[in-house]
């Protein structure tokens, strides 16, 4: 297992000297005699959009839970946002943002109440929260909805709000677990434009998706098969290496090798 993390000639950014926000070596998780995550090693650099791809059951969720401080690795070590994933899980949780595929805001709270709740959990002070809330809502064009119950918002707005809440406390890195499932194609693109804005503010993005065109928006992607990282590079380089026209083709070529049932 040796993922290639050298900067590639085709990469759009000069990545040679950029520090890592995630660094893991031989990260492994076993459940009984089943190895869900099998000695994976990789780095995610500050300010990049890192796509974490894999078939259902390849081990993505298990790996992500370890990175977020929700699950102890069986073997291996690493750091996220500068904290040790085996020993400093609480510190990791404070320094990351997380948005799950299931809509995670409270439907029966108003827009501003949701922001206050989550910002409060992350330890932000009330005054700071109030100022930033207005700034955020103005930027999103949501000011008129400040007092609206989240339940009443269209799905696309809810997702944009959920993302904004996930990065409200200015984490070093945000984890997005299939953030665009079920939304229309225009909203899906507006969501990615929001991701780009976050990146321009210096936030690192770690994202899983089943939309292969979205893999193309990532600076680099890794593809997991049977608990291992089988490929890691920029989308352009992966397509070149595998002589494929699209990321969909790259994915299929790799995932077809899976031995364990796609589940």
């Amino acid at each position: 297992m040796k993922p290639d993390i050298r900067p590639t000639a085709t990469s759009d950014r000069d990545t040679g000297t950029i520090p890592s926000v995630i660094h893991v070596e031989n990260l492994t998780k076993r459940f009984g005699d089943f190895t869900a995550v099998d000695h994976i090693s990789f780095d995610v650099r500050k300010g990049e959009i890192f796509g974490f791809l894999g078939a259902n059951g390849a081990g993505k969720t298990t790996a992500m839970r370890m990175l977020c401080g929700l699950s102890h690795p069986t073997e291996g070590h690493g750091t996220v946002a500068g904290f040790d994933i085996a020993r400093q899980q609480e510190a990791i949780k404070k320094n990351i943002g997380y948005m799950s595929q299931k809509f995670s805001l409270y439907n029966d709270l108003r827009v501003w109440e949701n922001i206050r709740l989550f910002a409060g959990i992350y330890g932000m002070r009330p005054k700071q929260i109030a100022t930033k809330t207005d700034a955020l809502l103005n930027r999103l064009g949501f000011m008129a909805e400040k007092n609206t119950f989240v339940e009443k918002l269209p799905l696309g707005w809810k997702q944009k709000l959920a993302f904004s809440v996930a990065i409200f406390h200015e984490p070093q890195i945000v984890f997005l677990d299939e953030p665009t499932g079920g939304v229309d194609p225009i909203t899906r693109r507006q969501f990615w434009e929001l991701i780009y804005e976050a990146v321009e503010q210096g936030i690192t993005v770690f994202v899983t998706t089943h939309y292969m065109d979205e893999a193309e928006y990532c600076d680099r992607v890794s593809i997991m098969v049977d608990g291992r990282i089988e490929a890691l590079d920029s989308p352009r380089e992966l397509k070149k290496q595998m002589n494929a026209r699209s990321m969909d083709e790259v994915f299929r070529q790799l995932a077809r090798k899976a031995q364990r049932s796609a589940d």
């Binding site: 269209p154 499932g181 939304v183 780009y196 089943h210 928006y217 796609a262």
Partner: protein, 313 residues
């Protein structure tokens, strides 16, 4: 080809709170032929599930009527339930029963047995048969979905309703699933399937694009693409984020969206490739590539959404 599903002026609304009202389906009519795969494409909340529930007799429409397999959805509820197989959007099998127990349970509900129709589901069941003692709740992704399809087929229906069968499923499992549907179609099955994945549109005989309870487009995939007449270009350069903003400011830009490694820009009359290239060169983009392209179904969907007025910001 005889008609398998005939829908006439069906509509449905729901009350929201005390005073609110959502029109889940605006009145519409549609005929689906025997042996046709008809794809319903649209985001969450578009009205897809409501339509499935009406056609499977789980919900009454406000207005209109429909026949499914020749039976009236208002009068022949029992007949329809024997005729159709339904795979709801949410995983609806018994998590604490094994794979085999689930199948036997559903077979019993329809007065049949697993053995009686084994040949009919064999093609799909063999994928999961090695795990037949495993509890359904311990399966994941693709396998759950194959089991759900087997359970929907166990009484040998003639018409299949699949509500987002591939949502959240990886591209390889999705392809396998569609291969199975193709084989069912070859055997004469009529299939109405919904999906949020635009690339699956190409696998359907006809598709309906649905948004906020209305069909904004309905045709064969080829014909829908042919109706997209605006010039379309794929553009990439070194700074994709700035490129998107600047393309949208281009005077002949109709709309522009990120599309994987390229941006797709559709253009107004008056545009020329030289003019577009000149505009971008003056803005100092390096590694600029521009080439014409055929619209995808997703391009069509977005253009139709804008024409119909997207209701979401």
């Amino acid at each position: 080809m005889p008609t398998s599903i005939a829908i006439e002026q069906i509509s449905k609304h729901f009350a929201v709170g005390k005073t609110g009202r959502v029109q889940a389906l605006h009145p519409f009519s549609l005929d689906i032929e025997k042996g046709e795969i008809f794809g319903l494409l649209g985001p969450d909340g578009a009205g897809k599930t409501t339509l499935f529930r009406i056609l499977t007799t789980l919900m009454l429409p406000d207005s209109g009527t429909a026949t499914v397999g020749g039976y009236d959805i208002l009068k022949d509820m029992k007949k329809i339930r024997e005729t159709v197989g339904y795979m709801p959007g949410r995983f609806s099998l018994y998590q604490d029963l094994s794979v085999e127990e689930n199948l036997r349970f559903f077979a019993t509900l329809f007065n049949t047995t697993l053995e009686a129709h084994y040949d009919f589901i064999k093609d799909i069941y063999t994928h999961i048969e090695p795990f037949k003692k495993r509890k359904a709740g311990n399966l994941s992704g693709g396998m759950k979905q194959k089991l759900a399809l087997c359970c929907a087929l166990i009484h040998k229906p003639r018409i299949l309703f699949l509500d987002e069968p591939t949502t959240g499923v990886d591209p390889v499992s999705r392809k396998e699933f569609w291969d199975m549907l193709k084989r069912l179609k070859a055997g004469g099955m009529t299939i109405l399937a919904s999906t949020p994945y635009m690339d699956e549109a190409e696998l359907c005989d006809r598709i309906g694009l649905i948004q906020s309870g209305r069909f904004i487009g309905r045709n064969t995939p080829e014909q829908l693409r042919a109706e997209f007449t605006a010039p379309l270009r794929a553009v990439r350069a070194s700074e994709m984020s700035r490129l998107l903003r600047d393309l949208r400011d281009y005077r002949y830009c109709r709309s522009c969206y990120a599309f994987g490694e390229f941006h797709h820009i559709s253009l107004e009359p008056g545009f020329s490739d030289e003019d577009l290239a000149g505009y971008l060169q003056r803005l100092h983009f390096s590694r600029l590539e521009i080439h014409p392209l055929e619209p995808t179904i997703e391009d069509c969907f977005m253009a139709l959404m804008q024409k119909g007025g997207a209701d979401e910001a």
